[in-house]
């Protein structure tokens, strides 16, 4: 019998009952599965949207397409209701709404995603720095952050755009900056929790430097909660960018995204046209889907207990 086998023998005679459950696999609810489907769908559309769309985003559909036998000879092409020609109807210029939504996916999701990434890069860096750094650094960063948080996000966006104009890089940079403040708060509090844990203390007693503690002890332990938070933040950024576009301050023509499509077609609303609704629904399918997934994940990591009460 090798030493190892002897040890194994001994372990079984410890009479110690395992108190750690094996790692659990995450299970998604029906809502979560629907969420995954929609997120996956939109990710695919970001890449292939323009190739599968029935028309070009800028095409104004020809009147002849809408001729109904026995009807008016040349009907208006704008604000057409859904038909075989245009599945989701047409917009105020007579362009196909579906095609424009498929083209716009790339703009809306792309800008929002890059802005979220930027917000994370900044927020996590500063948040962790505040968590591990000196009391003074933390004080300084936190006060500054509190002040920024108090300014309504959309107002801040407004002033910046008025000052420097609205191009896509500015939109991304500004949104990233604005949302870095809330990422900062999350990263800082997560970092602080890990910072006081015994294993970080153990690393400190060993004499490890700050870099090791940050990269090996803290970051691996905040990645999962931050990833969940990324989903939520991404949703808010999509809503923010869309709101800016809705106000006419976001993506500028001739480019268009979902938010500006709503703005353009708002005039059709009183007449019952669905053209402003469709792009909003596109936003909704994506954001609700992300939130459904996030809900499942956070339930998996601890929220579930509280769901079964009394």
């Amino acid at each position: 019998m090798s030493i190892d086998e002897k040890i194994k023998e001994k372990i079984t005679s410890f009479e110690e009952l395992p108190d750690a459950p094996p790692r659990r696999k995450i299970r998604f609810s029906i809502g979560g599965k629907i969420g995954i489907f929609f997120v996956f769908f939109w990710i695919v559309m970001v890449f292939i949207g323009p190739y599968v769309s029935p028309y070009n985003e800028a095409d104004i559909l020809d009147e002849s397409l809408f001729i109904v036998p026995g009807g008016e000879e040349y009907p208006d092409t704008d604000y057409q209701p859904p038909s075989k020609v245009a599945f989701l109807g047409t917009d105020y210029l007579g362009r196909d709404t579906l095609s424009r939504i498929l083209y716009g996916a790339r703009t809306t999701i792309g800008i929002s995603f890059l802005a979220t990434l930027l917000a994370y890069l900044l927020g996590v860096t500063l948040g962790i720095a505040a968590a591990v750094g000196s009391e003074w650094l933390d004080m300084f960063l936190s006060r500054f952050n509190d002040a920024f948080l108090s300014i309504p996000t959309i107002m801040m966006g407004l002033v910046v755009i008025a000052a420097v104009g609205s191009t896509i890089p500015i939109l991304i940079g500004m949104t990233g900056l604005i949302y870095a403040t809330s990422v900062f708060r999350v990263a800082r509090s997560l970092g602080q929790d890990v910072m006081v844990s015994d294993f970080v203390e153990a690393a400190k007693v060993r004499g490890e430097g700050l870099w090791w503690i940050i990269t090996r002890e803290i970051l691996p332990n905040v990645v999962m909660p931050l990833a969940t938070d990324f989903g939520l933040r991404f949703v808010w950024i999509i809503l923010f960018i869309s709101s800016l576009s809705f106000l006419g301050l976001g993506v500028q023509p001739p480019m268009s995204d979902w938010g500006s499509m709503v703005k353009e077609n708002l005039g059709g609303l009183p007449y019952g046209s669905i053209s402003p609704l469709m792009p909003s629904l596109a936003i909704a399918t994506l954001t609700i889907a992300i939130n459904l997934i996030v809900d499942d994940i956070s339930a998996h990591s601890g929220g579930k207990l509280s769901n079964r009460m009394i």
Partner: protein
């Protein structure tokens, strides 16, 4: 101990306000365009431009201008409009421009708060009393959807239902400022309904989450094992401990109702303060933008401070020291 904690919180509030004022001043100074040029137009001579700049105090270095501005602000002087937004507002007192808008904003926010806070807290309580039940799942999914969609979609759906389909309400709220009684209520209804929907969703979710979180604590398990009825567990044992977080969410939402409702104001053409600030930005009216921004941020800081104070005071450890 209680007094110290409250005092500390107030000091932090003031420190934040101070930093906010610097950020706002610097941020708005970034706005391009020379107000003097805008006022005098293309035809201005260099001499007249210089004279006007002198008069507007634009020749001082930034820190002097900041201190002047802050001093005036503290003495209640919001300054005068420096730009004409077509209607020739140059020289109008900012306070005169703001006052009617502020009244509108407060009226809307007040209506929304009055309806949504009791409504949302009851629905949140209801959902948390029967977790996993059909009613809870319906509430959870609906509120999740509402917080996930853009404000303008909420507004549009309500317009589709109440204005287009049912024809009960006007879809747009052009207000002259002289409305009274029924007219005023009619104008307010759509924006109120929209905001109630959005704000309630937030508060419902938070109330439910906070209560459920408390419900998994050992002292609730103890209450169950003592045979305390469910209603009493929620109303007596858990609600007291949820005041802090719930008051915080309410404060955040109130702050948002003051400064964040620009989308709703735009959709319904409601003449509120947020809309005024947008106009100010577009006309480069610095004093107006600064004043509006200070009002928004000040409201936020003060509301959050009050919320924190509420949770400090509701904490028995601070209220009854050893």
């Amino acid at each position: 101990m209680l007094f110290q904690a409250v005092l500390k919180r107030i000091l932090i509030g003031f420190a934040t306000l101070f930093v906010v004022s610097i950020i706002i001043f610097l941020g708005t100074s970034l706005l391009p365009g020379d107000v003097a040029e805008i006022i005098l137009g293309q035809m201005a001579t260099p001499e007249s431009l210089a004279a006007l700049r002198e008069k507007l105090g634009m020749n001082h270095p930034p820190h002097t201008r900041y201190l002047l501005w802050l001093g005036n602000l503290l003495s209640g002087d919001l300054g005068m409009s420096k730009a004409g937004s077509g209607a020739g507002t140059i020289g109008t007192e900012i306070s005169v421009m703001i006052a009617p808008r502020l009244v509108n904003t407060l009226r809307l926010a007040g209506m929304v708060a009055l309806i949504s806070i009791p409504l949302a807290m009851s629905l949140g309580l209801l959902a948390s009393m029967y977790p996993g039940s059909r009613i809870d799942r319906t509430i959870t999914f609906t509120t999740l959807s509402i917080i996930s969609i853009p404000d303008f979609l909420v507004a549009m759906i309500l317009v589709m239902i109440f204005a287009v389909q049912l024809g009960w309400l006007p879809s747009i709220a052009y207000m002259s400022g002289n409305e009274t009684g029924w007219q005023l209520i009619r104008a307010l209804l759509m924006p109120t309904l929209t905001l109630v929907t959005i704000v309630s969703a937030q508060i419902i979710r938070m109330t439910r989450a906070t209560i459920l979180n408390i419900m998994s604590s050992p002292y609730i398990e103890m209450a169950i094992l003592k045979g305390v009825p469910r209603k009493r567990i929620i109303l007596r044992h858990s609600l007291l401990n949820t005041i802090g977080p719930i008051v915080n969410v309410i404060a955040l939402n109130l702050a948002w109702l003051i400064g964040g409702v620009v989308i709703v104001e735009t959709v319904f053409a409601y003449p509120g303060l947020a809309k005024l600030m947008i106009d100010g930005v577009q006309t480069r009216d610095l004093p107006l933008v600064q004043a509006c921004a200070m009002i928004f941020c000040g409201t936020y800081v003060v509301l959050i401070m009050i919320a924190d104070m509420a949770s400090i005071i509701s904490n028995p450890r601070l209220r009854h020291p050893k």
